[in-house]
């Protein structure tokens, strides 16, 4: 069998060229893989959901509801009634959370270890685009159950899209299929974007990301330079790396099913179908910081440019579009602001402790996100001490203070090593034994 296939497909050559490719090993290298596994699980559970979900707001009678409810909502009730239906829907939900979290941690790992530097600038930019695409896909899927909670969250997104000067209304109309809620085109539009077009775009980006990774090679831990200078140290893609990835995938599936079995996601019955009132909503954790910014930016942050029918720059635009865009574009430009001496290519991971400015800036950025997230809790019981003024103060001061404190601590601990050549320590065995192997 193998011989028959080999004669036709030249499997031996493929094996030697691709499957024996060397993979450097480090536990943080699995973050990107977990992101990919989450995406695979999302596609598989998503296929199951599309087979039963009805993307429509036509009204249908459902037992237990006095008034007719939208077909989309009714079909979610039906999915939940299927064997393991609610679990699979929950796996889809939690996998989306895990995918975004893992992608973000993967990004932090790349940032802190300097792996974004030349020649990997393109892959860094593709990576950020993938994070944005994933978040947009997650958001567009939010409305699909068409319960009161999901509708409110999507309504806010529609409002933010509309706040873009000049083009916002047209963009919102195209993205959401008219006014949201209220147009019969809403759900079909969001559905096709969520299940088809944006996932296809994401698959294209994933393909490009992996292709570039294979072409440019992985960065690797510094000890590889001592052990095998100029070479890549690691395990072959098959069978060793493949085995590790396979096990990790199975562990991932097991864990996400355990979570989904214990914590059923988004109980649509509790939220109820679309009603006249708006429930108390909070967005998912990855939107909380934008939500917090929207709460504290006052309505006076507004001006209109009286050109082409008037472009309004309002508070929702600043908080919901401008600040996130500045962060994203800033992040994309990071590789072009790195001052590595000479025209060298980045081949080894950098230690965060030896790059105090970058590391401190990263921590300060995280503090900005955490403080903005906290502003999302303004007005909640138990958070009365957090006024809008104090939230502003925290958002501006905490990152700045964090930067200097972090830098100072790093200098105190590692400052004496900054000018030295990096030292490599072997965790086990006598020094140099790995090189002798």
């Amino acid at each position: 069998m193998y011989q028959w296939l080999d004669e036709r497909l030249d499997l031996t050559r493929l094996n030697n060229k691709l499957f024996r490719k060397v993979f450097p090993v480090h536990h943080t290298f699995f973050l990107g893989e977990i992101t990919l596994f989450a995406f695979i699980v999302l596609v598989l559970t998503g296929v199951f959901l599309t087979l039963t979900y009805e993307p429509s707001t036509r009204l249908v009678k459902v037992e237990g509801y006095p008034d007719p409810v939208q077909a989309a909502y009714a079909s979610i009730l039906y999915i939940d009634s299927l064997p393991f239906g609610a679990v699979i829907r929950s796996v889809h939900h939690w996998s989306a959370h895990i995918m975004i979290a893992a992608a973000f941690l993967h990004l932090l790992r790349i940032l802190l270890s300097g792996a974004y530097k030349k020649p990997r600038e393109l892959n860094w930019i593709i990576g950020i685009l993938m994070l944005v695409t994933s978040i947009v896909i997650a958001f567009l899927g939010y409305a699909l159950p068409y319960d009161n909670y999901a509708i409110t969250a999507t309504r806010i997104g529609h409002g933010i899209a509309e706040s873009v000067p000049w083009v916002g209304v047209a963009v919102a109309q195209i993205m959401f299929g008219g006014d949201f809620p209220g147009s019969e085109h809403n759900i079909p539009r969001l559905y096709s974007l969520h299940v088809l077009w944006l996932p296809l775009a994401l698959m294209g980006l994933i393909g490009a990301h992996l292709l570039l990774m294979v072409k440019q090679k992985h960065t690797q831990p510094k000890y590889a330079e001592k052990v095998a200078p100029g070479k890549i140290l690691g395990v072959p893609a098959l069978p060793q790396q493949g085995m590790m990835s396979g096990v990790l995938f199975l562990v991932y599936v097991a864990v996400v099913f355990l979570i989904a079995g214990g914590f059923l996601a988004h109980p649509v019955e509790a939220y109820g179908p679309l009603s006249a009132n708006t429930p108390n909503v909070k967005p998912d954790w990855y939107f909380l910081w934008i939500y917090g910014l929207l709460k504290i930016i006052p309505s006076s942050f507004e001006f209109t440019i009286p050109l082409f029918g008037g472009g309004k720059f309002g508070p929702e635009f600043w908080g919901g579009v401008v600040i996130p865009s500045i962060l994203l574009v800033g992040a994309m430009l990071i590789p072009f602001f790195s001052f590595t001496e000479g025209n060298v290519k980045q081949r080894y991971l950098e230690l965060p402790s030896r790059h105090p400015r970058r590391t401190s800036l990263t921590i300060a950025g995280l503090m900005f996100l955490i403080m903005s997230t906290m502003a999302g809790y303004i007005g909640d019981t138990g958070m009365e001490w957090l006024t809008i003024g104090r939230a502003w103060l925290l958002i501006i001061l905490v990152p700045i203070v964090t930067y200097f404190v972090s830098f100072w601590i790093m200098r105190a601990i590692w400052g004496h090593t900054w000018r030295d050549e990096p030292q490599v320590e072997f965790i086990s065995g006598p020094k140099g034994s790995a090189a002798d192997d």
Binding site: D67, T152, R155, I156, H158, G159, I160, E162, S163, G168, V169, A170, Q173, I174, G177, G178, D179, P181, G182, S183, H185, S275, A276, N277, T278, P279, N280, V281, Y291, L294, K295, I296, I297, P298, S299, E302, K312, G314, P315, E316, I378, G379, I388
Partner: protein
């Protein structure tokens, strides 16, 4: 093979050498043609893309609120039934209402911008401007938050304010829906009402444009 490639290279060079001016013109014409073609394609894409903006279809359910409409419960057990002013609790919280066309008895709940908030306050507490459009202490406002379009569904009893659950915008119903705190850019417009046959009836359209401020 190699000879063939060399020959092509030679031919191209030969062209350049023979008539540089003519080739420059030819290149300019070709580039212009490609440019015009691309621009035309992009423009036609815009025309097709405009079709992605759905047309608004006016049905009896999503017609805008009009003078003479009767306010009915938008939700709950009495959904669709006219609201009696005596059923409103003095001092709030607000009741969410939709207008009902008295001619065909269609509840206009299809457009969220038709959502109305009703609350009964002490008549003496209302500002004179607000009192003009109120009836027996009952005031009516557009229910759509000016900030991002949520329905202003919560009530702060201590200050007697409408509170939007989405980003904590506070509106004062005794003072023309003025923004007390939070991010909303404008007051929610008041709806002039009168009481007729123990029903609440709109006497005009909202005093401002209802819905999210665009």
């Amino acid at each position: 093979m190699a000879d063939y490639e060399t020959k092509i290279e030679y031919d191209i060079h030969a062209y350049d050498d023979e008539e540089p001016a003519a080739n420059a013109t030819r290149r300019a014409v070709l580039q212009a043609a490609i440019g015009v073609g691309l621009a035309g394609t992009l423009l036609s894409t815009l025309y097709v893309g405009a079709g992605l903006v759905p047309k608004k279809v006016v049905t009896p359910e999503n017609e805008p609120l009009a003078a003479g409409d009767i306010l009915v419960y938008a939700q709950g057990d009495n959904k669709g039934k006219p609201i009696s002013p005596t059923d409103l609790k003095p001092g709030g919280p607000q009741t969410i209402a939709y207008p009902m066309n008295p001619k065909n008895n269609v509840v206009k709940g299809g457009d969220p911008n038709n959502t109305v908030l009703l609350v009964k306050l002490e008549a003496g507490k209302l500002s004179p401007e607000t009192a003009k459009n109120a009836a027996e202490g009952v005031v009516a406002y557009s229910g759509v938050c000016k900030h991002l379009g949520c329905i202003v569904s919560n009530w702060e009893a201590s200050t007697q304010d409408f509170v939007c659950p989405c980003h904590q915008g506070h509106y004062d119903p005794a003072n023309g829906g003025k923004v007390v705190s939070g991010p909303p850019p404008k007051p929610i417009p008041q709806l002039p009402i009168k009481i007729e046959n123990n029903q609440i009836v709109a006497t005009a359209f909202f005093l401002g444009e209802p819905g999210k401020e665009v």
